[in-house]
Each structure stands twice: as structure tokens, then as C-alpha cells.
């Protein structure tokens, strides 16, 4: 078992929505969005942990908490044993250097008025990664690393395609030589053919530079291709986490089963045995009590309505948060 780089414990974050006029008249408090509800996970050195779930389940919120764009209200995140939200740690910008993030939208994540060269050299200068005389050479090296032509340094972001921009974003993240990379829907804005190039580049760089990656995505096949381990998030909670191959081959949580069976199959004979879920994803403003999945779960019973299941390890699988894992998976 390799070393744990980052540990996330019971992370909780609520977004307060403003009180509407109707709320004020009816004397209700303003509404609250439960973005994260007790997420716990550990990132191990050199692994790629995939995070999947429906839109609005809290994947991106989790990613943004890790890089301190959001401050969680409950729980903690430790990086090499150090709480990153502690008073003295907040001002420590070297954490930002060690843990980098790449954003979903390549059209807004690069400053439109700075050339690629300026974007990369700024990162190098601020963190004093190289002496002034070596900065140009390092910029050239970074462009080479993400396979962009050398004349890219003098160009503005609008002169590049989406895939090229994402590679600039990767180069910027790598410029400061991080240990952990958070990829928030890194390729979901790109064409499929370009997705493969960017993802494969990322994997290759991971191997060369021994990076730890948290790969947030909604594309299940992509996550399966990329990840060693996978966490399935539902309404701000992890419902299942485990080894990627096992989880994709034999998902244990009824939500994971439904989610995976919803992905289209490449086998033409597969006429589809998709598990269709009842109802809609509940609003994160109104999370059901007990197991948050019980309103849509085909296996729900009385206990599910009252008690929230905890993530527990199961033989031959990862950790699952379900009261009925055993029954579901013996007759399945």
C-alpha cells in the first residue's frame, strides 16, 4: 500500500441561497443547497482516482474545495498530515504549487490577454521555479512536454483550438511542478478525437512525473480508461468507492449499478438491460432523510428511510454505503 498524499474527512459544504420575497412573507429561513454531505476519501501517491456522478452531485464542488476555491463548513482536508484550512496554512501559497487544478472550460480558464509564453513564465516567476535566465528555456521545455509547437509561446489563447488550450492549461499546471493534479471535467468540452489525445497525454505525463490525479468526469468510459480507483458520488455523498475494474465490472451499490447500466453499450447484441430508476434526482436543496437514494432505489426498505448507511468495506469489493449490499448482490 502506497503512501497517502491527501486525506479528506467528512467534508460538508452548504451554499446559502438568498431568501426570496415569498420566504420572507412566509417567515421561512432562506434555502440551503447541500453541495457536499460528508465526503471522505484518501488519495494515494501516484494513483488516479476517478470521481463520477450525475450533474449537480457535488463533483466539481469537491474539486474546488481541494484547491481552496471553496471553504468547507464541516470536515477537513489534510495534505501530508497538514490541515489545509488551518489558520497558518491558508496563507501558505506553496500548497497551491503542490496541488494544481485544470478547469473544464478551456475558453475561460486562460487569460485572453496573455500569450502562452506570458502565462507560463508568470507561473514560473511567481513561484521562483527557475532563475530569471532559465525561464525562456523552461517555457520551451513545457511546450514540448505538452506537444505544442514552439511558436505557440507568442500567441494569444484565441489563436488555439479547445484541445490546444487544454494542453496550455496542463502546461501551466505542470510549470509549478505539482504533486497532485485535479482535473475537473478536463476534456468534456472537447471533441471525442481530441479527448483521447489530451487524456493520453495526461496519463503519459503522470507516469513520467509521478503525479497523483483526481479525475472528475461524468463520462464513465473515460473514467474507466483513466482511473485506478473510482468514487461514485450521489447528492454530495460517496456511495461507493473501490478499485476501478471491480467497480465497473460488478458495481455493488444500487445507484452505481443504475449509473453504469445507463451508459450505452458498444455490443450491438446488447439490447439493453438498463436498470431504469424511478423518479428524478432529488433537489440538493431538499435531500431526503435516511439513505438519500431510497426514494429512487428498487431495493429500499424501512431502514433506508430512517438511517443513513455508512461507507463500509465489503469482501472482494470496495467500500459501499448501502444497508442491503449483501442481499442485492447475492441474488443479482
Amino acid at each position: 500500500m502506497s503512501e497517502t498524499v491527501m486525506e479528506i474527512r467528512d467534508l460538508g459544504l452548504e451554499f446559502q441561497l438568498g431568501r426570496t420575497l415569498a420566504d420572507v412573507i412566509q417567515r421561512r429561513p432562506g434555502r440551503v443547497v447541500n453541495a457536499l454531505n460528508g465526503v471522505s476519501l484518501a488519495l494515494k501517491k501516484g494513483e488516479t482516482l476517478g470521481v463520477v456522478g450525475e450533474s449537480g452531485c457535488g463533483k466539481s464542488t469537491l474539486a474546488r474545495c481541494i484547491v481552496r476555491l471553496y471553504t468547507p463548513q464541516r470536515g477537513r482536508i489534510t495534505y501530508h498530515g497538514q490541515d489545509i484550512f488551518a489558520e497558518d496554512a491558508r496563507a501558505d501559497r506553496s500548497y497551491n504549487r503542490r496541488v494544481q487544478m485544470m478547469f473544464q472550460d478551456p475558453y475561460s480558464s486562460l487569460n485572453p490577454r496573455m500569450t502562452t509564453g506570458q502565462i507560463l513564465s508568470e507561473a514560473l516567476r511567481v513561484h521562483q521555479m527557475r532563475p530569471e535566465s532559465e525561464i525562456d528555456a523552461r517555457v520551451a521545455e513545457l511546450l514540448e512536454l505538452v506537444r505544442l509547437p514552439q511558436d505557440a509561446a507568442g500567441k494569444l489563447p484565441h489563436e488555439f483550438s479547445g484541445g490546444q488550450r487544454q494542453r496550455i492549461a496542463i502546461a501551466r499546471a505542470l510549470a509549478v511542478e505539482p504533486e497532485v493534479l485535479i482535473a475537473d471535467e478536463l476534456v468534456s468540452a472537447l471533441d471525442v478525437s481530441v479527448q483521447a489525445q489530451v487524456v493520453n497525454l495526461l496519463l503519459e505525463l503522470q507516469e513520467r512525473l509521478n503525479l497523483t490525479i483526481l479525475f472528475v468526469a461524468h463520462d464513465l468510459r473515460l473514467v474507466r480508461h483513466v482511473s485506478n480507483r473510482v468514487a461514485v458520488i450521489y447528492l454530495g455523498r460517496i456511495v461507493e468507492i473501490g478499485d476501478s475494474e471491480t467497480l465497473f465490472a460488478r458495481p455493488a451499490h444500487p445507484y452505481s449499478q443504475a449509473l453504469l447500466s445507463a451508459a450505452p453499450s458498444l455490443d450491438p447484441d446488447d439490447k439493453g438491460s438498463a436498470i431504469r430508476l424511478q423518479g428524478e434526482l432529488p433537489s440538493p436543496m431538499d435531500v431526503p432523510p435516511g439513505c438519500p437514494f431510497h426514494v429512487r432505489c428498487p431495493h429500499a426498505s424501512e431502514i433506508c428511510k430512517q438511517q443513513e448507511p455508512r461507507l463500509t468495506a465489503h469482501e472482494g469489493r470496495g467500500e459501499v454505503a448501502c444497508h442491503h449490499v449483501k442481499e442485492i448482490n447475492t441474488h443479482a
Binding site: 474546488r64 484547491v67 478547469f103 475561460s108 480558464s109 484565441h158
Partner: protein, 288 residues
């Protein structure tokens, strides 16, 4: 294709610079010409004025436009054309000095409250509300009344009121720009707030402010000459368009050229600044 083929400079047609594109727009070119000539007149009025603007000739009072005096002469026999030209330096100075401090203060305050929000932003909001409820001119006149008439006090008065308009615009634009991930990525990169605000957000947020600045210079000339007309800005015998219009007011039915010519100068310079502002909006917009 584009993903794998190297981006060679030869493959892509050379892009036209923004300036080249802007120079295709007749409005922008006309604006530049007007303001260029106005600046020239402001810097070296002596080169263009045919007479000494303060030379009094009682033998030739209120003469209509003629070859000797194209804009006629005033009630003291001074050459109107020379006075309109010599007023360029005061009025162009107004356009700059009445706006530039408001611009700088407004941009900095607006960027800061837009970035940090919170209590400072709420206080800022109240100040804005309080100031914009009053008509601009009334408020400026009130400040001038307290400080006393004169050009310097007029600049102070306009700046005290005018910075709010810049700050309001800047704040809104910074907030809009913060919706882009490049601002968040600045935080992720561990950059200081100062760097994020002034190096990243400001250059992207400032375009509408600069465009507004051009309009505001036109307004500043208008406001400055209004105050001159009311006797609160430039003081006679200083040649200033508002003062010149006021001097001609009593003779408007018999010597109409006295008020008309400085009026045309105000319209032309105002038009020039507005046309430039319009062109700059295209020139400064980032691509893609």
C-alpha cells in the same frame, strides 16, 4: 487536423492588426483627425490664431464674419477666431484633467470592491446611490459653491462626483470577469490578490471604462463650459468656450457669431471624442 499539424506561421494567413481594422472605420478615423487637430490647436494656439486673442480694438467691435476676421469680432473688438482657438488649450485641458483622476480613482476602487465584495461593497453601493440620485451638474455646482469658483476647484468638484461612474462600471465588469475560470485559476496558481486584480482582471475589465472615458471627456468639456457660462469655471478674460458663449449672449440677435462659433467648437470636439470611443470599443475587445 489542426490538433496534430504544427501551427506554422506560414500556414496561417497573417492576421490584420486591430489598428488596421479600426482604421477601416470612417467614424474612428474622423474622430482621430478631429481630436488630433484639437490637440494641436491646444498645444500651439499661437501658430494658428491670426491675432492676439486679447488684443482690444475699439474701432472694430462686433464686426460680422469677414476675410479679415473669419469668425467676426466681439464687443471689445477682439478677433473671435483667435479667441476660439486659444480656448482650445483650456477646454482640452478640461477634457483630460476633469476626467483622468476620476478614472484612476474609479478603476482602483471599482476593481477592489468588485473583487472583495463584502462590507466595503455595501458601503460603496450606498455612496453610489447617494451620488447618482442628484443630477451631475447640480452636485458639481454645489461643490464649486463650497470651494469657490475657478478651474482647479472645478476639477476637484467634477472628480469628487465623477469617480463614482467609473467605479460602478469597473465593479460590474470585474464581477463579470470573475465568472471566468482564469480568475479562479489565478487563485489555484497561488497568485496574490494584487496580481489577480491588477494583472489579470483589470486588463480584461477595463475596456468599457476606457470607452466611457472618451464619452466622459466630451461630457467634461460640456460640463466645464457650462460652468464657465455660469461663471463658476474659467473666469473672463480667459478665453474658454463657455465664457465666450456667455459673452455673446447679450448680443445674440445682433452678433450671433459670438456664441455660435465656440458652440460649434464644443460640438466638434465632443463628436471627436465620441467617435474615438466608439472605435476603441472594437479595438480593445479581446478576440475569441
Amino acid at each position: 487536423m489542426t490538433e496534430t499539424s504544427p501551427l506554422s506561421a506560414a500556414a496561417a494567413p497573417p492576421q490584420k492588426s486591430r489598428l488596421q481594422i479600426a482604421l477601416r472605420k470612417p467614424g474612428f478615423v474622423i474622430g482621430m483627425v478631429i481630436i488630433g487637430l484639437s490637440t494641436l490647436l491646444a498645444v500651439a494656439p499661437g501658430l494658428f490664431a491670426p491675432y492676439d486673442p486679447n488684443f482690444i480694438d475699439y474701432t472694430a467691435v462686433r464686426q460680422p464674419p469677414s476675410w479679415a476676421h473669419p469668425f467676426g469680432t466681439d464687443m471689445l473688438g477682439r478677433d473671435s477666431l483667435s479667441r476660439v482657438i486659444s480656448a482650445y488649450s483650456v477646454n482640452m485641458q478640461m477634457a483630460v484633467l476633469a476626467t483622468v483622476f476620476a478614472l484612476v480613482i474609479g478603476v482602483v476602487v471599482g476593481a477592489l470592491v468588485g473583487y472583495y465584495r463584502g462590507l466595503a461593497d455595501m458601503i460603496f453601493g450606498r455612496i453610489v446611490d447617494a451620488i447618482i440620485t442628484f443630477p451631475f451638474l447640480v452636485l458639481v455646482i454645489a461643490v464649486v459653491a463650497v470651494l469657490g469658483p475657478g478651474l482647479v476647484n472645478m476639477y476637484i468638484a467634477i472628480t469628487l462626483v465623477g469617480w463614482v461612474y467609473y467605479a460602478r462600471l469597473m465593479r460590474a465588469e470585474v464581477i463579470a470577469q470573475m465568472g471566468n475560470d482564469y480568475a479562479a485559476s489565478g487563485v489555484v496558481m497561488g497568485y496574490s490578490d494584487r496580481r489577480i486584480i491588477f494583472r489579470h482582471l483589470l486588463p480584461n475589465a477595463i475596456t468599457p471604462v476606457v470607452v466611457y472615458w472618451m464619452t466622459d471627456m466630451a461630457l467634461a468639456i460640456l460640463l466645464g463650459s457650462s460652468l464657465g457660462y455660469l461663471g463658476l469655471g474659467a473666469q473672463p478674460p480667459q478665453a474658454e468656450w463657455g465664457v465666450l458663449i456667455a459673452e455673446g449672449r447679450n448680443f445674440i440677435t445682433t452678433a450671433w457669431w459670438l456664441s455660435l462659433m465656440p458652440g460649434i467648437a464644443i460640438v466638434l470636439t465632443g463628436l471627436g471624442f465620441s467617435l474615438i470611443g466608439d472605435g476603441l470599443a472594437d479595438l480593445l475587445r479581446p478576440r475569441g
